[in-house]
Symmetry: C2
Subunit: 400 residues, 2 copies
């Protein structure tokens, strides 16, 4: 019997956690594990909104994979996946073709545009380190441009489409960043506008209404304008056009309105909903008992039959479950179904402010902000131990 | 007899020095002195190339005027001059009309495009704090864009048109900055190009050939490519087209190829050469014994009959002479002709490197770099005393 080949696609929360747990559990030579990722680093997606606003340091939000992986147990390949061929048990990448006995798909998400015209072309998205550095630079560039074309005040308007978790966390950071930018570029703060536009009848749809109101109050006091119940019809090079025909000019439009699974998953022939595979109890793609799907590409339902939203928390747990089951498959044990444990949810609102529900209790203000920090630090500990907490988490602890 | 009205236009080296020396020499009420400037700060033009490259802090390169001016002696008006009417003894500004008994014009320079098509539209110029923040942001933005459009390597090419003092000093700083940018944006340094294009048969035309060679060697080792004897025919949104038809694509084009006097001076009816007024021995505009012209708008010839280049050094001395003669006019003394004392010239080549001629001696390397620092610090001392040296000059002393 030959050594089983495990191929992991993507080093996001789900894929990385699968790889790290396999690295821990498997002995040398027990399986031939390969991890393929576009970059040679993992980034901490839950911090990207800070980098996009310019309040966080990109180096605190990424970890180079060679710091985490034991090359004797996991082979890392830096390549872009171009096609998944589950029937042939093959994956095409820019670094060649890979075959496998077991496949783990953790290729993350893509922005969901809901058919809004121009969004793909003219809006920026909080989706990768390169994308958020672009947002930060785009905003700064517009401040610099405004000082050279002072009649173009719209350069100072930032529209954030979507008031879900990412949108709310992003405007919170932006509101903290604006006074710094105004100082650095000699801009009158009264001229800067942050407008958060949401199509649903409320910000943070599905979240506790009392906490939503708290969040909106905090953010409005920081200078954020909300346009709730306001669908965007079109995004243009000049800004956005609302469903009611109103045009809002803006130098920057950032879209946080939703995500769908990586389109490679749909193209591979798996049945999907919004690009996500409705996996079985063991996170396997229907019809393939050797293909696991974790993270944002994976669709899991709660007991009420509603899909869990794509979060880091669930992706991490999926990775852990997936690795456990892969070990069982390699060694001939029995599989354990995936059961998510939702510990809670915390959304940051910028410096020292957050809202959340943890262990069934509502949290606001600095208590919630500290909880958010602990969640971030816990994750660093999970993937890289105390040394990573100290290296990457320091600023988080110092910046209160 | 009424109090004489002295109106100073512009708070650059020439105008500010005139104002500060008047402030020192005149007693309260001896004259009614007004200084009009576009901004409420003075910026240290000789440091702008550092800010454009992103190696210097903008706050070290500007001084707010209220820190320097005694409001009981000098009235400061923040306004933009729109027209000078010397025959009516009036000046129109965005802050109203001003009349005067004595006028000092220190309105600085504008880029000289030599009729090169597209330069005005597509090239950036090192000319003000707002303009250099724009250059810095433009370059950073292109690094961010490249990471999202990696097929567009030309985004990483920076063309500097002109290898005079500003061009040479700027590419020196840029070469220092590029490794930092590459690190911050994960860019392969081999893909970044700094190309300095000069139409004349040599870099730094008119400067000592041995020092020019030294400078080019230093800069080439830092990664700068020179295209000397290479006129630019056209600037486009994609880069530049040379006189020989060759196109060089570039995300950033910065033009440092020359300046001319502020166009308001020509429009006022003064006889000009490249926008500069050929002043008399007392820096007065021909035909007007109450209009003084200092700094880049003023054209003074040396004993060989060649015009002095527009430099901070000569502008400062002109301001001092002008103030001295204004005091004489107010009190009824005799005028003293302007005699420049050229102490020397030093051009920085980035961190720790420079070339120069000081007191007839050639300097290179760290000796020249220190001399450059001393010149900058001396100027801070001249306008704001030791406290200003300590506040604004600190970084200069620490960064060797």
């Amino acid at each position: 019997m030959s050594t089983p080949k495990i191929l992991i696609l993507g080093a996001g929360y789900g894929g990385l956690m699968t790889a790290l747990k396999l690295q821990k559990e498997l002995s040398y030579g027990e399986a031939d594990v390969t991890l393929i990722n576009k970059h040679d680093y993992h980034y901490i997606t839950t911090q990207l909104h800070e980098l996009a606003a310019g309040t966080g340091d990109p180096e605190d939000a990424r970890v180079f994979l060679d710091e985490l992986l034991d090359a004797r147990k996991i082979r890392f390949v830096k390549a872009v996946v171009t096609e998944i061929k589950p029937q042939e048990r093959k994956v095409e990448t820019t670094g060649g073709t890979f075959d496998y006995d077991y496949l783990v798909i953790g290729l993350g998400s893509e922005p969901e545009t809901f058919g809004i015209q121009g969004l793909k072309e003219y809006a920026l998205c909080i989706r990768s380190l390169n994308a958020v550095r672009m947002i930060r630079e785009h905003i700064e560039y517009n401040f610099a441009r405004y000082k050279n074309e002072p009649e173009r005040e719209e350069l100072l308007t930032i529209i954030v489409g979507g008031a879900g978790f990412t949108g709310i966390e992003f405007v919170g950071e932006l509101a903290d960043r604006v006074p710094e930018l105004c100082k650095a570029f000699d801009v009158d703060p009264a001229k800067v506008k942050i407008i958060n536009i949401e199509a649903a009848p409320t910000a943070l749809p599905g979240f506790d209404p009392e906490l939503v109101e708290y969040a909106m109050n905090v953010l409005q006091k920081k200078g954020v304008t909300f346009r709730i119940n306001t669908p965007i019809k079109e995004c243009t090079p000049e800004g956005v056009i609302l469903a009611n025909g109103e045009e809002i000019k803006a130098g920057t439009v950032v879209w946080t309105g939703g995500v769908r699974g990586n389109s490679l998953v749909e193209k591979a022939g798996f049945e999907t909903m919004r690009g996500r595979v409705k996996v079985d109890d063991y996170l396997r793609a229907p019809g393939y008992d050797n293909v696991f799907v974790v993270g944002d590409c994976s669709l899991v339902f709660n007991e009420q039959g509603r899909p869990y939203p794509p979060t880091a928390q669930i992706a991490i747990q999926e990775g852990q479950n997936c690795a456990r089951n892969l070990v069982a498959l390699v060694r001939g044990g029995s599989l354990e179904p995936f059961k998510p444990h939702i510990r809670g949810t915390v959304a940051s609102l910028g410096r020292g402010e957050a809202i959340g529900i943890v262990g069934g209790r509502k949290l606001t203000g600095s208590a919630a902000a500290w909880m958010k920090k602990l969640i971030d630090l816990r994750y660093l500990y999970l993937i890289g131990g105390l040394s990573l907490v100290l290296r990457k988490g320091r600023h988080k602890l110092l910046r209160v």
